[in-house]
């Protein structure tokens, strides 16, 4: 066929465009809260737009649920909740946090979905001397003097399930996860603990297989390697749409009969609905399940279901607990609950009753020392649900 411009120049154009497209940019937008006087002001920062919108919304709703069920008060004071949008990461989270801390002058900050956002916001906390009671992302931090988390450390789910996998799997285990900080931490938690108790990985070089993230949408090539490795079980961590792709493709692949163990996020919340039948029988480890049998949880789940479709997730629970922590800390901080006084009071809370069972803050990491549960995706009425099938280790340091 005749060409109207030299092929070479067009090939160059295409190659340059391909190169440009490999670097992508992310953007989000800021949202503003309102300001009012008189009551205690709490800032909630969560992803209300962008990739983590689902998690951010759960975090906002979990906190709001605690307020709604406690007359809108924390520690006996009417709460003026200022909500701001974290967007996709630190780039949007830091300006939003700056506004909450410096303009709205909140007494405490809560929420924050991304670990990177937390890392970006931490210097501001020390500058303004305001405590953060985070309810999700928890990166490695050197200074946690004003940082508290009601969630978990990324390497804890894997560490909690390692003994169970060692006891119940006859053979080696294939470890696979996404190639980013969260994936490295989640998988390291499992492989370190599993190796210490004599477990053997089925991976060819004895190391975890990491898949490019978020580029990997087709897991079949990896499944072929798992099949060839002769693994007796698979341990993994994926979240969001990668979790849906992984689980759906796993169920249709030649390794569908190999038991799948995972950090709970693989089948948590909305992704489970999207996975449907493909998720049946998957084992996962998490610090919470809506079917836990205790009085706090029954009240929490009933209140949640009255306002929302479906069951609460661990994200909503962590945010609900962040409100509970602030409730007790503000109450204990005396007549003048300054940010400093609240921060000191959080450190003296001791045992905290929660829908997940009783937990407490670790004195070194300021994140929970808590029990982890083994769950399996099973039929619950008409829908599939994560059903607790046993207790695992209590983890925290």
């Amino acid at each position: 066929m005749p060409l109207t411009t030299p092929w070479r120049s067009r090939a160059l154009t295409a190659a340059l465009l391909a190169a440009v497209l490999t670097t992508s940019t992310a953007c989000g937008d800021d949202a503003a809260g309102t300001s009012a006087g008189g009551s205690i002001k709490i800032g909630l920062l969560a992803s209300l737009s962008g990739t983590y919108q689902a998690v951010g919304t759960e975090i906002r709703d979990g906190f709001q649920l605690y307020l709604d069920t406690h007359d809108g008060k924390l520690g006996g004071r009417q709460v003026d909740l200022v909500v701001a949008d974290e967007g996709n990461g630190a780039q949007t989270a830091v300006p939003a946090a700056t506004k909450l801390l410096k303009q709205d002058r909140v007494s405490a900050l809560t929420g924050i979905v991304g670990g990177g956002s937390v890392a970006g916001v931490t210097p501001l906390l020390n500058e303004t001397k305001v405590p953060l009671v985070g309810s999700n992302g928890r990166p490695e931090l050197k200074d946690v003097s004003r940082v508290w988390h009601t969630s978990y450390l990324s390497d804890e789910p894997g560490a909690a399930i390692a003994q169970h996998v060692r006891d119940n799997v006859k053979g080696s285990v294939y470890a696979i996860g996404p190639d980013y900080q969260g994936g490295w931490d989640e998988l390291r938690g499992f492989t370190d603990a599993f190796g210490k108790i004599g477990g053997k990985l089925a991976n060819a070089d004895g190391k975890t297989t990491f898949t490019p993230f978020p580029a990997t949408t087709n897991f079949l090539p990896y499944f072929a390697r798992i099949k060839a490795s002769g693994a007796a079980a698979v341990y993994t961590f994926y979240a969001g749409s990668a979790a849906v792709d992984f689980v759906k493709q796993y169920a249709q692949s030649e390794i569908k009969d190999i038991p799948l163990y995972a950090a709970g996020f693989l089948t948590e919340g909305g992704v489970l609905n999207a996975q449907g039948e493909a998720a049946r029988d998957i084992y996962s480890v998490l610090n919470y399940s809506p079917d836990l049998d205790n009085a706090e949880n029954r009240a929490f789940v009933a209140a949640w279901k009255a306002k929302h479709d479906g069951s609460p997730t661990t994200y909503a629970l962590a945010s609900y607990d962040a409100a509970a922590v602030l409730d007790r800390a503000i109450g204990a901080a005396g007549n003048d609950p300054t940010p400093e006084a609240i921060n000191t009071a959080i450190g003296q809370l001791g045992q905290i009753a929660s829908p997940r069972g009783t937990w407490q803050f670790s004195t070194t990491t300021h994140s929970p020392v808590q029990k982890w549960y083994l769950r399996q995706v099973r039929q619950d009425g008409r829908a599939l649900s994560n059903t607790v099938v046993g207790d695992l280790a209590t983890v925290g340091r």
Binding site: M1, A15, L17, T211, N218, L220
Partner: protein
């Protein structure tokens, strides 16, 4: 005996990735052929091509409900919507001279950004899930391995689509008219055919192809915020690897990309992030004309 067993074992684990590479490659072929068609034949650089695929993908996610009728409906709606978007693009491109790639790139890239935002505003920022017909939900045994039924059927459908495309381009006068319009628009206008209408036709055809790929390929490259970029990127790599000269070159390049993304990943998982671009760089370095040159000569 042991040696024989070891021999089959060495190939056996890679059968499924190799088969999957064909499915992926054919999807890339159908998705990219529209861009190659626009760029190579009509000399229009359409950076909104990925958007046309995404339109098909979102249509599939919105309409598919597990039945065959919904698949037919989604295919019809997706093809029409993407073709209409192509015609709209042609209208926007009217003031831009043919072959002015910079203006075309700026315009179509702007359209791609705006269109992508509209899709996200309309369908939400989450990746919507695609429900394939219930009969294809499961997996089938292929040479003793489990493989997703939908992908196996997709290979057949995409192969038929590719063959049909080949016949249309080879056996109809439409392609000849298009090339004539590029070489000498005035002469074609004298024949009573408006070059603007030819341009609209080419973009509509490219849109229809991308829309069809978007609907049928939704369970493989699903709709989401990054879909348009991914498809445009893969299509541009097809242009680099396969050239603009022949459909065979395009098909070969698309299949190569498919195998690199599946078989290549299975063989060298640690190199997975770089394989595609390593291959592209290698082809550019060794043979600046792409794979197409050899094919034309053959």
């Amino acid at each position: 005996m042991i040696a024989v067993a070891a021999g089959t074992n060495r190939i056996d684990p890679y059968l499924i990735p190799a088969l999957d590479g064909v499915a992926y490659g054919l999807l890339v072929f159908v998705a990219a052929s529209g861009l190659v068609f626009c760029f190579g034949v009509a000399n229009i650089l359409n950076l909104a091509h990925g958007l046309l695929y995404a339109i098909g993908g979102y249509t599939a996610a919105a309409l598919l409900d597990g039945g065959w009728a919904s698949l037919a409906l989604a295919l019809a709606v997706g093809v029409l919507a993407a073709a209409a978007a192509g015609v709209l693009l042609a209208g926007l491109l009217t003031p831009v001279a043919t072959g002015n790639h910079l203006s075309q790139a700026l315009l179509t890239f702007g359209v791609a950004l705006a269109g992508g935002s509209l899709l996200v505003a309309g369908f939400g920022p989450d990746n919507p899930q695609v429900q394939v017909p219930a009969a294809l939900e499961g997996s089938v045994l292929v040479a003793g391995h489990r493989y997703a039924a939908y992908r196996l059927v997709f290979i057949v459908v995409a192969a038929v689509l590719a063959a049909a495309l080949y016949l249309v381009v080879r056996r109809t006068r439409a392609g000849m008219l298009v090339r004539a319009a590029v070489d000498d628009p005035e002469m074609v206008a004298c024949l009573g055919v408006s070059p603007a209408r030819i341009r609209a036709g080419v973009l509509a055809a490219a849109g229809a192809l991308a829309g069809a790929a978007g609907v049928l390929g939704a369970p493989i490259i699903g709709p989401g915020t990054g879909t348009a970029d991914t498809v445009l990127l893969l299509s541009l790599v097809v242009v680099v690897l396969g050239g603009l000269g022949s459909m065979a070159g395009t098909l070969l390049a698309a299949l190569a990309i498919g195998e690199i993304q599946t078989l290549g990943v299975a063989l060298l998982p640690s190199a997975a992030p770089f394989l595609l671009f390593a291959a592209m760089a290698a082809v550019l370095a060794v043979r600046a004309r792409g794979l197409a040159g050899r094919w034309r000569a053959a």
